[in-house]
Symmetry: C2
Subunit: 458 residues, 2 copies
């Protein structure tokens, strides 16, 4: 059995490794455009500043290491066409500029996602970058080496923009963050966004919200930008306004896309084509809280999907399933952890939930224990069932609280469960009652109030 995998970052290499484990006999080939496989793209912002020393640190496994496991990884090879009828691929060798055809018995599409470059005049100036692939980081680093930029403008206040802003600050640059919407970290509620903006400003980042970039200015090399409210000087620009799934190859082959524009798969990561699976940032899945199709391109999810696709492609059966996601995410900006799971209040309302929510700001450990720091937690519950449907946290231990809430949502827990939840307490690790329990207790009060409100109206 010849298994071909198109794309070798997270989902693709995970699928290959799993397939190898499941089927010791299969031929397994991975094709990918980039010069290295299994790149940890989440680490790219930290490579800019040197927090991560070496680009090699971000390559989890080399083609040689894959070869030892019996997986052939062919880098700098672009699959240009899939013929699902005849189970043939057209492949271009980007290094040697040749082209050839290859056959497959089973196929996994893991073509990932790429940065969206908005149609802003001047976006092609030297010194304007996106940061999606390791090669992008190489370019930014080479530019910094050559030009020693002093003023950086980061366009986009999402995960990547925030992480890049922090890392450019670490290099001593004067950094501005420009966000078109009225707050940064839009996936979160305003309480979290405020805390993020405050943290940015405390660390010297100039934050411009509601500021749409209209033009990058300069001659040859970028010198600044114009946005709705004015002008900014900048000799380095990193644009992180979003990414989009790379689906053209699949679409041309007749693979069905979903409503989000990413590839539609079933719970077994099968596409509509026989013997073709897909996984990672190029596919859509289901948000288990909203029940809606969702495109959530994240490295951990890509790994989980890759495991399922690789296993099922190897067995040819529906051996494993990937049920969907909760929309869990986290980032850090200047030591402020910011995490989320489930739906924000806005997202919940859009989905049709009536919500009850509660927030606490408390300490991350016993108040008397040295080093106690503040942490914010907001819980969002479905008014009719009391079930937890979302949580947002910012501060020390936000990762723990987010993971606990994600697990609670997965388990269908409601606020009375959370109040009595038996979590681990000792003074170095938390207050006697976890922020989750404290927030659930406040939430319980809000439910009581909501109920009384309903009675009063009746």
């Amino acid at each position: 059995m010849r298994l071909v995998i198109v794309g070798g970052i997270a989902a693709g290499t995970k699928a290959a490794s799993r397939a190898r484990r499941v089927d010791a006999e299969a031929e397994i080939v991975v094709y990918q455009d980039e010069p290295e496989p299994s790149i940890s793209e989440c680490g790219l912002p930290y490579l800019l500043s040197g927090v991560v020393d070496e680009r090699a640190d971000l390559v989890a496994r080399t083609p040689e290491q894959f070869a030892e496991k019996g997986v052939e990884v062919r880098v700098r090879h672009r699959v240009e066409k899939i013929d699902p009828e005849n189970k043939w691929l057209s492949v271009r060798d980007l290094e040697n500029e040749g082209a050839f055809e290859d056959g497959y018995d089973r196929l996994v599409i893991a073509t990932g996602a790429r940065a969206v470059l908005p149609p802003i005049p001047g976006a092609d100036l030297e010194g304007v970058f996106e940061l999606r692939f390791l090669t992008d980081a190489d370019e930014v680093r080479a530019y910094m080496e050559a030009r020693s930029p002093k003023r950086a403008a980061v366009v986009g206040g999402g995960y990547i923009g925030l992480e890049v802003a922090e890392n450019l600050c670490r290099l001593g640059m004067e950094v501005s963050l420009i966000e078109g919407e009225d707050r940064v970290a839009l996936a979160y509620g305003p309480e979290v966004a405020e805390r993020v903006e405050e943290r940015l400003k405390e660390n010297g980042v100039s934050v411009y919200t509601g500021a749409k970039v209209e033009e990058f200015k300069g001659e040859g090399c970028v010198r600044g930008l114009r946005y709705g409210g004015g002008d900014l000087e900048a000799d380095l620009v990193v644009v992180g306004v979003g990414i989009e799934p790379s689906v053209e190859l699949a679409e041309e082959a007749g693979v069905e896309l979903g409503e989000t524009g990413a590839i539609r798969v079933d719970r077994h990561m099968r596409t509509n084509l026989a013997d073709v699976w897909a996984a990672g940032d190029c596919v859509e899945t289901v948000n288990l809280v909203s029940g809606k199709r969702a495109w959530v391109p994240l490295g951990d999810t890509a790994n989980q999907m890759g495991r399922v696709a690789g296993t099922n492609a190897a067995t040819g059966e529906d051996t494993l399933e990937f049920p969907g996601v909760l929309g869990t995410g986290i980032f850090e900006v200047f030591d402020l952890g910011v995490g989320k799971t489930g739906l924000s209040e806005d997202e919940a309302r859009e989905t049709g939930f009536e919500t009850v929510s509660a927030a606490v700001e408390t300490m991350d450990r016993a108040g008397y224990y040295p080093g106690a720091e503040r942490v914010f937690l907001k819980l969002i519950a479905d008014r009719s069932s009391g079930r937890l449907i979302g949580a947002e946290s910012a501060g020390s231990g936000a990762d723990k609280l987010t993971d606990v809430c994600a697990t609670a949502i997965w388990g269908g827990l409601s606020y009375p469960d959370l109040i009595n939840l038996d979590l681990a307490y000792a003074p170095p690790f938390g207050p006697a009652l976890s922020p989750v329990i404290q927030a659930a207790s406040v939430l319980s009060g809000e439910f009581d109030r909501a109920r009384r409100g309903v009675r009063a109206i009746e």
Copy 2:
């Protein structure tokens, strides 16, 4: 309505505060032996070393602060008798040596637990201490001030013994830890115990296991001890071999005790007596995993129980319920976090489970991210259902992993859920796949193997 609460540490003061919130009119009185209410007993080991600066830091709220909220806290008052028939109490004023009677409409018993001093000859020598109450810590500190002990022996390798050993080391003492059983941290499996012993030894603690103390030696003041294997010099001894519930007052009043020896209550924290509730370290509850009655004296659980007892005592109804515990616990020893939830493999087998388990040792964040440290996680599942029934963790982020697993057990999750669980990933917070997901994946392989094993036998 006059609500009297006997005991004013965690459960008692929580019950009082909740009752105050629920019923603004009630008279609420708390009696307690100790000179301060609402003491954070979990912080005592850290007070010895000065990690916690001031004893006042461990008093969450003074009687004056309670008075402002309309709760009368009468310290140094011991309730000596409860007459449930006539709803009268006999109270001794320990300060002024008087006695009086008081009436109640409703009563909450929160008499807590006390240290067990084993019947070892010499246990009454000066310099031999237990560490349960704030007054115990005062005595140890006064002794250290007066005698400047150089060699400490800590008897008992459970939570309290381990924390005390660490804190005495911080003071520059030569510390020995003596445990009668064959390993420390007995509630955990051997993998965790090994890691704890290693950490103790790395930090200069001499660890003696399988070493039963036979005698404390000295004249007037302790000079050493004799154990099964030999002799040890020591001019300070702290005994932390266990605690027992303080139930005599309740028992004499006709309150029913449970099979563990602690007070038996229903899910609403009601005792068998009308208008008498109980909460905290003096009551038993249910381990929701084993289904067995369990006595789990911990500060966070006491708070949760106090909330329920205080609310229900205030309303006089079964307003809230406390369903039980998972047996979650955590401690830190020399920066090694060690947490547990659910059942250990031994406990699971004793309960009648057939188990499948898997362990991983992995990093607490992306391997390339600076400061990545190791963490161990073991998952224990019920063989027939695949449900998670226990987890143990040691290392960086053990608190997070323990809490995630506790929440997973509460939610009834099984290993396929854990593999696909949508947890928060970014490089500073974890590896791309959480140790929980990694361990669940290994566990899945163990289940496959177990199933094949069964087939082979069939």
